[in-house]
Symmetry: C2
Subunit: 139 residues, 2 copies
């Protein structure tokens, strides 16, 4: 895309066609907690996942491991109530701004990004577990 | 990956091998402004891009459109000084926490996520331009 702005669309369905879906029909999405700005997770959405997210006002993803729609927290109860969906300037990445009902990570941590990578320490986990690990894992 | 934690690695090179790179050798990365938590952009990194990021302490990406390493801000001057690299629980997504020297978006906006998508309004831009659009665009 050039320096021109992403074309605005007044219809939700038209907007879907403006977005640049990958060859696999998916797009990466990053999810942020609304009040703290904490980045909770990154995952993938299909058109159907994005549509359902906007319909039920909860974050829905496409689980690549299970090849199915995945309503986050359906099993664990830690749903992510949708506040806003945002789109980047190329129309090829999404941002979900949510209010999460509990820890997002299946390890029981608030954020999936609980590991730090640096030349000094290598890869280390520096965030605490907030509740028992769940079975609600759909990478 | 199971409910087990991502294996910790004390060596940076070992950690690279722990990460789950895509079939194309890339991994999605989301970049956040350190003091405000603003999500600035989403992009892609290769092993070489991640290595260079850690070496020069500036955010480096893989430009899929140009098929080359892309030191963000090399042209525009709006570099992203690296504060931290974080890894998610599956080892297949990254987070760059940075201090950006200027607007990240090639449209001159602070964040690339300047468009909002909702059933009520469709796709609309609701963020202002902070400086003249740049040529520094490497989607």
């Amino acid at each position: 895309m050039s320096n021109k702005d992403l074309p605005m669309q007044t219809s939700w369905e038209e907007a879907f066609d403006t977005l640049l879906w990958g060859a696999d029909g998916l797009m990466p999405v990053t999810t942020v907690q609304v009040d703290t700005g904490t980045v909770l997770m990154s995952a993938w959405v299909s058109r159907a996942a994005l549509r359902k997210t906007l319909e039920i006002n909860k974050a829905v993803y496409w689980s690549r491991s299970r090849q199915e729609l995945w309503v986050k927290g359906e099993t664990s109860g830690n749903v992510q109530h949708l506040c806003e969906v945002r789109v980047d300037c190329d129309g090829d990445a999404l941002l979900y701004i949510v209010d999460a009902a509990g820890p997002t990570c299946h390890t029981g941590r608030q954020s999936c990004f609980s590991w730090k990578l640096s030349p000094d320490t290598g890869l280390v986990c520096d965030r605490k577990i907030e509740e028992q690990p769940s079975q609600d894992h759909h990478a």
